[in-house]
Symmetry: C2
Subunit: 175 residues, 2 copies
DNA sequence: GTTTGTTTACCTATCAGTAGGTAGACATGC
DNA sequence: GCATGTCTACCTACTGATAGGTAAACAAAC
């Protein structure tokens, strides 16, 4: 993998666990084995790095969601959607990047905050389409809020069960 | 108000908008009109301040919830619970302190993270009691996750409507 | 195929600014 | 006189960012 991509990967991990303000160029440089000036070579300013990480994260999530959109029933598509978040929480052992950055939204450089809003709006659009032909269903922001909150709560309380409570509650409300 | 309490109040506001890592003794000192050394006099280390803010916030929230517990129906009690969060979001124009700190949980000093967990567990216990005699209802972690996520989403997207979508979705599921 | 110029990807060194934190002087009030 | 609260002055560590240099890769010209 290129140094550029290795930095992106290390930055995503640190952003998701520590938040924007707590990530430093030096820590990232240590993570990938270069000096901090070299990180600046690839991402001149911190906000350049922030925007790039959110964009790459958005691409990664929607690549997974594109597969989930092919399921035949609305409930299966919602199950696929939930699965993407569950994977982020359980396999990657961290909350959603945009939950972390959303919390910090007011203190983020504008281009980074904008990228986070793009992520959430794309999620709303995806859910609107995926559940278009479901009879009775929660609104898309309800679903996103429930899952982002569930990740946050499960992470804080160290309890995957709390995430699963939310997941099954959502699934029971569709179709 | 005492300087001690003025610092607590300023710290709560800054913690809720910027997060633990982004709050500095200098900023707080400026907020209340003293020097940073004087803030250290009242709260020797940053984690002392963090714990004190979370404890004061927890007291404040549960003082409001104690009133809501007196409502006669489970649905009214849930409406009261939601009202406390709505007030925090709309009147105080910030997300819940413990949503912010929960996101950062992994990077917090242990005593601060513990105080956040105490807050959430107390919320679970309150809801369990308030909705004990409701026939069909979401689990307590579902309700908390939905509301914390709703604050986060509404804050990021600058849309109170998204919070209200979640609030009415929750209310429709009780009794 | 060797010289020449350019680019890529790093480095060391340093900057001004800010972080949390401390020591000790000074004022106020009991 | 002593406790309380605030101050000035300072420390070390770290922040994002920049300047300037270098080794290797690559391309073009001859």
């Amino acid at each position: 993998m290129s140094m550029h991509d290795r930095i992106l990967e290390a930055a995503e991990a640190r952003l998701r666990s520590d938040g924007y303000g707590a990530v430093s160029f030096r820590d990232l440089a240590n993570d990938v084995g270069v000096k901090s000036a070299s990180v600046h070579y690839h991402f001149p300013r911190k906000e350049d790095l922030g925007v790039a990480v959110v964009a790459a994260y958005t691409d990664k999530v929607f690549a997974a969601l594109d597969l989930a959109m092919h399921a035949t029933t609305p409930q299966d598509r919602l199950a696929g959607y939930i699965g993407v978040f569950r994977h982020a929480l359980v396999q990657e052992n961290a909350i959603c990047l945009c939950a972390m950055l959303g919390a910090e939204a007011r203190g983020l450089p504008a281009p980074v905050a904008d990228a986070v809003r793009v992520f959430f709006q794309a999620n709303i659009d995806w859910l609107d389409e995926a559940l278009a032909d479901a009879a009775d269903k929660p609104k898309s922001p309800e679903i996103i809020a429930a899952l982002e909150g569930a990740m946050l709560l499960a992470n804080t309380m160290d309890s995957i069960a709390m995430f699963e409570d939310v997941a099954s509650g959502l699934l029971s409300r569709v179709e």
